[in-house]
Symmetry: C2
Subunit: 179 residues, 2 copies
């Protein structure tokens, strides 16, 4: 259990669910959305655009929280597909989890800190998408998800980065030669 | 003063600063970064990519918080330019503001709610950047910043959307004709 699990007293959350590799935790247009804490396994969330192309929004492995935050927070129908890339155990968080769990002030502050860091990471992701070359995006991917390159197919990494799989393989061989 | 100002008891924060239109609140490579609450006025944050092109990250008007969250949270040098599009009054928030201000548990929960909503908005921005046509991006811009189209030049809006100014003007005339 990682830092966030401890902060949120997540072991006391009752809603453990198991999903097999390939199963969906969420699909678009569902009316109810929840944040999902990954206890074990690996999930992917993505959208399909109007031309039918898939774009990966994020990966989440042990200790991460994933979910359709916009749908959760604004009571809107979901837009994301979330499926499992490995057999996974997840804890479904109730919408007002931190409030209901009656966390201490100290844990609330720790959780806010964690949320600020997430905001910082999302800022970086946006800046990467609007103004960074592919090689920088890939390096930041490695920083964010150090354990994923061996767990996720290359074409999914390319989709997350918003680049062509060929571009990614060029980058990887340049990095390999440079070392 | 908007909702967030009230939640954070921002009036008790002492660090009010005034900036004129065109002045910089922050530039890249500064070693110290702070979150900035906009009391009055309008700011823009942006990066300049390796080809010299400007990309707007966000606008912030009355009641918003802006800043280089990644730099603040990870103690890294700043990457964003933040300047004023109008004469502005801002409150510089200390890094551990919510903690130091000794906010009540209730206000902490309200602030977390606000942060979750920001995470939701950033999610939407990312999904827009990776998989939405320009017209959807513009409509979402109008939703997010209903009062800005008359306060911000078109070319800046195009830069925020990641599209060419010509594309934006085509979209705007289509919308105008449709009405």
């Amino acid at each position: 259990m990682n830092e966030l699990g401890k902060i949120l007293d997540i072991e006391t959350a009752p809603n453990l669910k198991r999903f097999k590799k390939g199963e969906f935790i969420q699909q678009p247009k569902q009316l109810k959305a929840n944040a999902i804490y990954i206890k074990k396994g690996l999930t992917r969330s993505y959208i399909i655009d109007s031309t039918g192309k898939e774009h990966i929004y994020m990966f989440a492995s042990e200790g991460w929280i994933t979910g359709d935050i916009e749908a959760v927070e604004f009571n809107e129908p979901t837009t994301l597909y979330i499926d499992c890339l490995e057999n996974s155990e997840v804890i479904v968080l109730k919408k007002d989890y931190p409030k209901e769990a009656d966390l201490s002030k100290d844990k609330l502050l720790q959780n806010m800190k964690k949320m600020s860091r997430n905001l910082g990471k999302m800022q970086r992701r946006i800046l990467m998408l609007i103004g960074s070359p592919a090689v920088d995006r890939y390096n930041y991917f490695l920083e964010t998800y150090p354990e994923l390159p061996n767990r996720v197919p290359q074409k999914m990494i390319a989709s997350y980065l918003g680049i062509m799989p060929q571009t990614l393989s060029t980058i990887r061989s340049k990095i390999a030669k440079g070392k």
